[in-house]
């Protein structure tokens, strides 16, 4: 008991000084889902595999809607994607004041829309 107290007294603090100093995040950490829609073919494999139904793929509209607030960071979508469009970022998803959906729209449709308006 006394040994314990003394060794704790003289060892350096265990505390990680969080906001002042962020810890380096380990490799391969499943932080948050990152989309890269450049190669996306809107096959919908990610939406099919997602256990939380956080991803919606609208193929005709070439639109991917990702609900960050349903996501359970299981990395199923990243494994299912054959085009390598989905990656798990090391950084965790940051808190926010409002709920927002992340919407990705493919390039062809976007120009169409711009052309119309």
């Amino acid at each position: 008991m006394i040994n314990n107290v003394l060794s704790n007294l003289f060892s350096k603090p265990a505390t990680r000084n969080f906001p002042a100093k962020t810890r380096e995040i380990a490799e391969n950490v499943r932080g948050s889902v990152e989309f890269n829609t450049e190669n996306c073919v809107y096959c919908g494999a990610c939406a099919l595999k997602c256990p939380a139904n956080a991803i919606e793929v609208d193929r005709p509209a070439k639109k991917v809607t990702f609900d960050l607030y349903k996501c359970v960071a299981c990395a199923c979508c990243a494994e299912a994607c054959r085009k390598g469009c989905i990656q798990m970022a090391k950084q965790y998803a940051h808190p926010s004041y409002r709920k927002m959906d992340v919407v990705f729209q493919g390039a062809p449709l976007l120009t169409d829309e711009n052309g119309e308006t």
Binding site: P13, R23, Y69, K70, C71, Y92, Y97, K99
Partner: protein, 140 residues
């Protein structure tokens, strides 16, 4: 910022309620209390009494029975108060959003000020969420 606001921001007391979580977020909140993260550096204390608390941390999906308890706890807290929803379940029901006894997130029961996503969120994210909530509380 008057002295009252300043002192409130320097020592926010936290009330934690599990409205139907899997425990993952709860142990991460407890992990914030441990020497490694040590939120007591910021004057944060985890209290059991809603009347002493400024910040309500809610985890879990919120089912029909715990919604009543949650509402009750929220009503008992003195103003100004902020609510931080922690984890995918508390935000939208997460993986459980289609279960029969689940209310798909706590924002239907109590007004949520800060959403902390993740399953389970890392302690860093929870601490960040609480600090964001305090900023919001000071603007009130």
């Amino acid at each position: 910022m008057n002295i009252l606001q300043k002192s409130r921001a320097k020592s926010p007391w936290i009330l934690h309620y599990d409205a139907g979580a899997c425990n993952g977020c709860d142990i991460e909140i407890l992990a914030c209390l441990t020497p490694v993260y040590d939120i007591e550096r910021f004057g944060m204390v985890n209290v059991g009494n809603p009347k002493h608390a400024d910040v309500l941390l809610v985890t879990g999906t919120c089912n029909k029975r715990s919604a009543r308890v949650l509402k009750n706890l929220y009503d008992q807290m003195p103003d100004p108060k902020v609510v931080v929803a922690v984890g995918a379940c508390a935000l939208s029901g997460g993986i459980f959003h289609e279960c029969y006894n689940v209310l798909q997130g706590v924002d239907g029961t109590v007004p949520v000020d800060v959403y902390v996503p993740g399953c389970a969120p890392r302690p860093e994210a929870i601490m960040e969420g609480v600090m964001m909530a305090l900023e919001k509380m000071n603007k009130r």
